[in-house]
Subunit: 263 residues, 2 copies
Amino acid sequence: MTTAKKARTTPPYELIYWPQIPGRGEFIRLALEATGTSYTDIANESKDGINAVLALKDENATSSGDGNPPAFAPPALKVPGEGKEGKSLIIYQTPSILAYLGDKLGLAGADEAEKHWILSHTLTALDLNSETHDSHHPIASQLYYEDQKTEALRRSRDFREARLPKFFGFFERVLKSNEEGGGKFLVGGKLSYADTTLWHVLDGLKFAFPKELEAREKDYPTLFGSFYDSVKEISGLKEYLASERRLPYSQGVFRHYPELDRQ
Amino acid sequence: MTTAKKARTTPPYELIYWPQIPGRGEFIRLALEATGTSYTDIANESKDGINAVLALKDENATSSGDGNPPAFAPPALKVPGEGKEGKSLIIYQTPSILAYLGDKLGLAGADEAEKHWILSHTLTALDLNSETHDSHHPIASQLYYEDQKTEALRRSRDFREARLPKFFGFFERVLKSNEEGGGKFLVGGKLSYADTTLWHVLDGLKFAFPKELEAREKDYPTLFGSFYDSVKEISGLKEYLASERRLPYSQGVFRHYPELDRQ
C-alpha cells in the first residue's frame, strides 16, 4: 500500500499529546509514520491544540458527552466516526492505542499468537521506558530533578548496571529466537509496533546514557547492530526521522545528565 | 454458562508464576476464578512446579523449541494446543495475558471501543500496582527494603499524598461516567478484567496503607462503596476469596510497613 493510498483510506487520526517533546506520544507517531498514515498531531500543529491536551487531563471531567470514559493521562488517540453512535472514539494508554492502531495498520502480526507477543514485547519495552524516567525521577514526578538528585544517582547506577543488561539481553534473545525476522524484527517476518517502540527506547537511551551504551552495545550485536540499524532505515521511518516532525530529546523521559551516566 | 460447563470446554490453562504470593499472578487468577474457568497454578499445586517458573526466566534461554519467544518475567500463561503448529502457546506480561483471556472468557466488553477502554483502565490500575511496589522499593528491586528505607519514606509520602488521590479520583470519575455500570463496573454493564484488576489493587492498598486508605475512602464513595464492595461479592470471586487458593499478602507488591503509612 502506498503512502498516498493510505492517506485517503484511513480515518483522520488525531494524536492528543504534549507539544515539543517526543515523550510517550512518540510511540504513536512512529506507528503512524512507519505505515505512511496521515494524522494530526494537534498540540504541535495548531496554536490552541494544547487545549485538547488540557481538556483530556481535566481532573474534574467525568464524561465528555460523547460516550468515551475520562482518560488518565496523555497520549490519547481520537478517531472520528469510530466511537459510540458514530461519534469520535477516544483511547488512552500507549499500549492500548498501539494495539488498536496495530490491528488497523498491519503492525500487529500474522496471527493471534503473534498479536499477543507483539503486545507483550511492547509492554516490556515501555517498562524500560518507565524505568528510564524513574532513573532521574526516583522519588516523585512532580519534583524537580535537582530535588531528588541524590536518590537519582543511586537509582541510575542500579539501572545502568543491573536493569539495562537484563533488558538488552532479553531483547537480544528474542531477536535470535525469531529466525523469520533475521535480526530485524522481534516477531515474525515483518515490522510491528513492538519494533518501532523498542527502537525509540534504544534511541533515547543512546541520547541519555551515551557512555554506558557505547560500552555495552558490543555485547548485543543483534540488538544494536542488525535491529537498531535496520529499523531506522525503514521506508516511512527514515523520512520521518530526517524531518522536522521528529522532535529533539530535551526534558522528557530521555534526559542527558552526565553525572548519571557511566563515569 | 455454569462453572462445570466452562471447566469442560476451555483448554487446560496453566498459570506460570511464583508460589506463595499473590503478586502479578493474582490478576490472572481473578479473571479465571470470576468466570469459573479451570486452570492449573503450577508452582502452587505441585512440588516441582517452581521449575516451570525458573525455566521461563532462564536468562540463557533463547527459544524453547515450541515457537514461543523468551519471556521477560513471570507471570506467563500456557495454553496447550493454541500455539504454532498445534503446540502450546505461551504469553507473558500481565496486560497481554488478560487481553487474551478477556476475549476468550467474555471479560473484554461488548464491542471494539469497550475492548480498548478495558485494556486502558487495566493498564492504569497496573501502573498504580507498580507505583505501590516502588513506594517501598524506590531504588532497586534487587535490594532489601532496609537498604532503601530512607528513600522509601520520601517516595511513599508522595505516593500517598499526590498519587493515590490522582488515581482514586480518576477511577471515581470513570465509574460515574459509565451510567450503564451503575457504579459496579468500569466499562459497560458487565464485569471485565479491568474490574477484577482494579479491585485487587484497591484490596492490596487497604492491606499496605490501612490508615491512609481509611482516611481517604470517604472521598470516593462510588469506588470504595459501590465498586469495591460489589466486585468481591460476584459469584466465583466470592467463593475464591474465601478459599485457600487466595494467598495472603506478605513480601510482594503489597507490604504493610507502618512507618510508610499515614502517621
